[in-house]
């Protein structure tokens, strides 16, 4: 009962991969940490994510693309160490697979588009190798003869987000982070001057005091009230439908992550695959659709005909937290004691280690 009265140094709003990573790292720095999750820990967007650590494959033109690439490269470099530490702290695996990623073109049109992407990556000095179809199919015999050209991104790997989430939760609990589920935050509480955070108010009315509040609420960030309008950031949900498949014959159909126009396939070590993902501006709507599934399967089947034999284990829908320029908000907000760790769009899993490091560095430097 006294649970909500006792003050923590840091309250983290959101128990997805970002919130948990920040919580774990902040606790390791000696801060007392409370995580408030609106539903169940690790069952939102992070749970649906495929887990690609693919900054090179995802590289995009323009200034925002460049910023995101820099963040992605830094975080990808942190992942092996982060994974090893997390496995030690939790006693569980996180499923980091160092397989590399293939970008595929299946006809002349897509090959021209891929050449443009290759030139762009090479101009930035990124690791990306042009492969003729025969070479790509030698590396991945499960690919269809329709493949015309490929780019291999040898440094773009993957993790299993569900294992990461379970490990983060365990690591948090082992370290003494207080986790509260079904504790939806209604608003951020400010002092009388409106310039400093004093805690948060739960939807149920309870006040949770804290000198530092980290908003890691992903697509739901915009639903948290209490901030003056000039201190808010714009985050919207971007719907994605995603399939989880399993090969009854075990692993081997694909070793690398493959990406193509209209989707990607991410292999796990145990013969299961994640096939994603649609990108839909549908607000908080969460219904899977026949058209969404059809599109995913149609494109994937053309490139990896062997998926016919896979069993469908799950069809899920996630809500990516999208900002206007697709880059995340990480760091101090316009109000003292407020930290942003949200808006990671398609890159939450990739950017979790870096986000945690950046946010915790700020938290540790701010007197609570």
């Amino acid at each position: 009962m006294s649970d909500g009265i006792r003050s923590a140094d840091v309250v983290i709003v959101g128990g997805g991969v970002i919130g948990l990573a920040v919580a774990w790292r902040a606790r390791e720095k000696g801060l007392s940490v409370k995580v408030l999750e609106r539903e169940e820990i690790g069952r939102g967007t992070s749970y649906v994510a495929a887990g690609m650590l693919a900054p090179v494959a995802e590289a995009e033109f323009g200034a925002a693309g460049k910023r995101l690439l820099e963040l992605g490269l830094r975080s990808a470099e942190m992942w092996p160490g982060f994974a090893a530490e997390l496995e030690r702290a939790s006693g569980g695996e996180v499923g980091l697979l160092r397989t590399g990623t293939l970008l595929l073109a299946r006809d002349e049109d897509e090959a021209r588009a891929l050449e443009r992407q290759l030139a762009f990556r090479q101009s930035l000095g990124l690791p990306a190798e042009r492969l003729l179809a025969s070479a790509a199919r030698e590396r991945e015999p499960g690919l269809a003869p329709t493949v015309r050209l490929a780019i291999e991104c040898p440094e773009d790997h993957s993790v299993d987000p569900r294992l990461v989430l379970a490990a983060l939760r365990q690591a948090c609990e082992n370290a003494g982070v207080e986790i509260r589920e079904r504790a939806a935050v209604e608003s951020v509480e400010l002092d009388d001057a409106g310039t400093r955070v004093t805690g948060v108010i739960l939807r149920a009315g309870e006040r949770v005091p804290a000198g530092l509040v980290v908003l890691a609420a992903g697509a739901w960030t915009g639903q948290i009230a209490g901030l003056p309008s000039d201190a808010q950031i714009s985050v919207r949900p971007v719907k994605g439908q995603i399939l989880r498949l399993r090969d009854p014959a075990g692993p081997g159909l694909l070793r690398r992550v493959v990406r193509f126009q209209g989707g990607y396939l991410v292999p796990r070590a145990d013969g299961s695959y994640v096939l994603g993902a649609t990108v839909e501006e549908k607000g908080f709507e969460l219904s899977p659709t026949a058209g969404g599934v059809y599109e995913l399967l149609r494109e994937a089947h053309e490139l990896v005909p062997g998926i016919d034999e896979l069993q469908i284990e799950e069809l899920s829908v996630g809500l990516r937290p999208g900002t206007p320029d697709n880059t995340p908000a990480i760091g101090p907000g316009a109000v003292d004691g407020l930290m942003w760790a949200t808006g990671h769009y398609r890159n939450g899993i990739l950017l979790a280690p870096l986000t945690a490091e950046l946010v915790v560095a700020e938290l540790a430097g701010v007197p609570a």
Binding site: F61, G62, A64, F120, E281, G283, G291, P324, D325
Partner: protein, 263 residues
């Protein structure tokens, strides 16, 4: 960024006047921010949105960004393969966007995304009857364009080449024939790859140009949006300026009379 005052006469479609003769598609941009910046750079006042791909009530979404940009919305029926689906989608769009304008697309083939002519006519007839202002995306067939106008379409939007192909105007003669065949605005839609394609469309007599992928998927969408804006204005000016006839042999641009003698 400094914007260029539009240098051309306004366009009127079904009684609505637009200062810019460039229409923009909103799909395919890497981010909403890039889309908003490109719309501003293009000077476009009318942009298409695919009802099937968005939620019109979501905060911070596409519709909010477009409202902030101050542009008018033209809902389309992208993704529809039958007249029935297109009509239903148009009606949902009328509810969602509070406009009876619709860019009618009925696609006949997944690989080429070419219009399905019989379905298009059927849907257009029904929507006109229901009071819609119908702007059909059509093939570059002058006869079909006339039939669409005969049944009451407010404009026609013939393709230059398949959607997203960037192949430009493959049959300029047909586009010119469509211009002759109908007395409603002709909006060149689909196939624009770069600025010269847009200028050519205007020179052929099109009243406006619709661009989407050419801008959204350019390396620098803002810069391409500006290029399209200038191209559409240049093409319109050239069309209305009255170009010279083509000749086989040269004719000196400077008259010979009155030249000084250097001897």
């Amino acid at each position: 960024m400094a914007t260029v005052e539009t240098d051309t006469d306004p366009l009127t479609i079904a009684g609505r006047t637009l200062g810019s003769r460039l229409l923009l598609g909103t799909g395919g941009f890497a981010s909403l921010e890039l889309m908003a910046a490109a719309i501003e750079a293009s000077g476009s006042e009318l942009v298409t949105v695919a009802l099937r791909r968005i939620d019109t009530t979501a905060r911070g979404s596409l519709v909010d960004v477009l409202a902030d940009a101050g542009v008018q919305l033209l809902p389309n029926t992208a993704g529809c393969y039958t007249a029935r689906d297109a009509v239903l989608t148009a009606k949902l769009a009328r509810e969602a966007f509070a406009t009876d304008w619709v860019k009618l697309e009925v696609i006949g083939d997944e690989d080429t995304l070419l219009p399905d002519a019989p379905e298009l006519l059927r849907a257009a007839e029904e929507l006109v009857d229901e009071g819609f202002v119908v702007l059909p995306y059509t093939t570059d067939d002058p006869v079909l364009a006339r039939r669409l106008v005969d049944i009451g379409c407010a404009a026609v939007m013939p393709l230059g080449s398949p959607i997203g192909s960037g192949m430009g105007i493959r049959n300029p003669y047909n586009i010119a024939l469509i211009r002759e065949a109908v007395d409603v605005p002709v909006v060149l839609d689909a196939g624009i790859g770069t600025a010269s394609d847009a200028a050519l469309a205007m020179e052929l007599g099109c009243d406006a140009v619709m661009a989407a992928s050419a801008i959204a998927r350019a390396e620098d969408p803002m810069r391409m949006a500006r290029a399209m804006r200038h191209a559409v204005e240049a093409g319109r000016l050239a069309r209305t300026a009255g170009r010279i006839p083509r000749r086989l042999y040269a004719t000196a641009s400077t008259p010979n009379e009155g030249l000084p003698a250097f001897d």
